[in-house]
């Protein structure tokens, strides 16, 4: 269990982006996303530039485009919302293919689609190149309050255990010939959720007592070292700086 706690979105290979310390990557993605979100929605060229930056980082990180596209479907509910906007929007309307569409709604749909997609792609690249453990270390080094990184650390450690527990309970249920699937069988599902909570909580109490007896005082030992070099900060700063230049250039044009 001491291994790097990979998560489903992590792509385990080596690249320049994978090697960057987590804190510089988090800062870069956050700044990039903010720049994308504050860009006025009618600066179409700026969004093309931002997309190009994502393509470049994807290539450097050697993340397959198909992999990225498949995971980006997480934002589909919002694409559906965006599709609805031109029909539901107010104000001036245009007629296209016999449909009356709101101009403001069309801009709004574009706004959600462009900003949402770029944000999801940037977050996916961060997740693909950073292990869960590194991500928490990065948050810690960015002075995120200790209590959060600690809760999150425990959460990630317990997550695999709980998922396994849940899977075992499901297998046990299936092997006894019962497979609750539909709404009217929700009771069996919920009872096993209750049992899962009890098992988890009792395990947590045992682990906590074990930690106490090993000298836990409410704080985990801080991870030492691991600061990023100026060169590493500069490398990752390239993304938000390039985005900022594109944004400013587009607005001033």
């Amino acid at each position: 269990m001491g291994a790097g706690h990979a998560h489903p979105l992590h792509l385990d290979h080596d690249s320049l982006v994978h090697r960057l310390p987590p804190q510089v990557k988090i800062a870069a993605v956050l700044l990039y996303t903010i720049i994308v979100v504050v860009t006025p929605r009618d600066e179409f060229l700026a969004f093309a530039g931002y997309a190009l930056l994502i393509v470049v980082v994807t290539a450097i990180a050697r993340v397959p485009a198909g992999w990225l596209a498949k995971r980006a479907t997480i934002e589909l509910p919002f694409v559906l919302l965006a599709v609805a906007l031109p029909f539901a929007g107010h104000g001036e309307r245009v007629t296209w293919l016999g449909m009356s569409l709101s101009v403001d709604g069309l801009y709004g749909a574009w706004n959600i689609f462009a900003k949402g997609t770029l944000g999801v792609l940037a977050s996916l690249l961060l997740a693909a190149t950073t292990t869960a453990r590194d991500l928490l270390l990065g948050l810690d080094r960015l002075r995120c309050p200790r209590v959060f990184t600690q809760i999150a650390t425990f959460m990630l450690r317990y997550m695999d255990i709980l998922a396994e527990d849940a899977r075992r309970m499901r297998v046990a249920r299936l092997s006894r010939g019962y497979d609750p699937r539909f709404l009217w069988q929700v009771k069996a599902f919920a009872v096993s959720v209750g049992a899962l909570f009890l098992r988890a909580f009792e395990r947590g109490e045992r682990v906590y007592l074990a930690m106490l007896s090993r000298g836990y005082t409410g704080r985990l030992p801080a991870a030492e070292g691991g600061g990023a070099t100026t060169a590493q900060w500069a490398t990752s700063a390239a993304l938000p700086i390039a985005a900022a230049c594109i944004g400013v250039a587009a607005v001033l044009r």
């Binding site: 979100v37 929605r41 919302l81 425990f154 450690r157 709980l162 849940a166 929700v186 959720v193 009890l198």
Partner: protein, 233 residues
């Protein structure tokens, strides 16, 4: 439903990010009072539990699956402060590791699901338990009602945010109606699971149900209380 980037404008997102930080700071302070040095391990465990439960997709109709949000469940089992911390941790991890919900919308999502959702859930639970019997059945009824209403109220947080800083002009009653309708359906599923889960826990380990804590001194309120490890720690 996790809000993505670009739905609500940057200024309003920033205001709600500040609000979320202040609210969570309060939750940390009050959560320590509930759990002292057990805060991190136990809150981490409950967060992992919520996460695991969210991954157990339940088929609502063939082809349509839903999953639990877990806010009211967390409130009933570990209290409002730790519950809000757990839900926010889940939201932060989902945003960073699973790209679910926009990074700039994190403040909005935490406000809706972790702050408004758990606050509404807790107030309802506290109010309903005054009048309903403190038995597993009473808890189940409480959990169901609090989940349905809590989820719908949390969804109206989005309506408020959209009214303040929506990027497209839409008719507000229409959004409010749609959100309330969709989330009533989600809430019913959520409520059924919360009710049964809490009733199961209350039957086996009533000492673990936070919502019953205030009534614990009353004899006969719950049957078969087992001694807690908590006193040993």
């Amino acid at each position: 439903m996790h809000i993505a980037n670009g739905i609500v404008n940057a200024q309003v997102s920033a205001v709600f990010a500040v609000f979320a930080v202040v609210a969570l700071a309060l939750c940390v302070a009050r959560g320590r009072a509930d759990l002292d040095d057990r805060l991190a391990p136990m809150a981490g465990l409950v967060a992992a539990f919520i996460f695991a439960v969210q991954m157990l997709n339940f088929q609502v109709l063939p082809g349509v699956s839903g999953h639990l949000l877990g806010g009211t469940l967390a409130v009933m089992l570990v209290g409002p402060w730790v519950g809000a911390l757990c839900v926010s941790t889940v939201l932060i991890i989902q945003c960073l590791l699973f790209a679910d919900g926009g990074l700039t919308a994190l403040g909005l999502n935490i406000t809706n699901m972790a702050v408004i959702g758990t606050a509404a859930g807790y107030l309802l639970v506290a109010g309903l338990l005054r009048v309903l019997p403190k038995t597993p059945t009473g808890l189940a009824v409480t959990g169901f009602i609090a989940s349905v209403i809590g989820v719908v109220i949390a969804s109206q947080g989005f309506v408020l945010q959209y009214w303040l800083g929506g990027t497209t002009d839409l008719s507000l009653p229409a959004i409010a109606g749609t959100m309330a309708g969709v989330h009533t359906l989600i809430g019913v599923g959520e409520g059924l699971i919360t009710a049964t889960t809490v009733a199961t826990v209350a039957r086996v380990r009533p000492d673990l149900v936070y919502a019953l804590r205030r009534f614990r001194t009353r004899p006969g309120s719950t049957a078969g209380a087992t001694p807690s490890l908590r006193s040993a720690a």
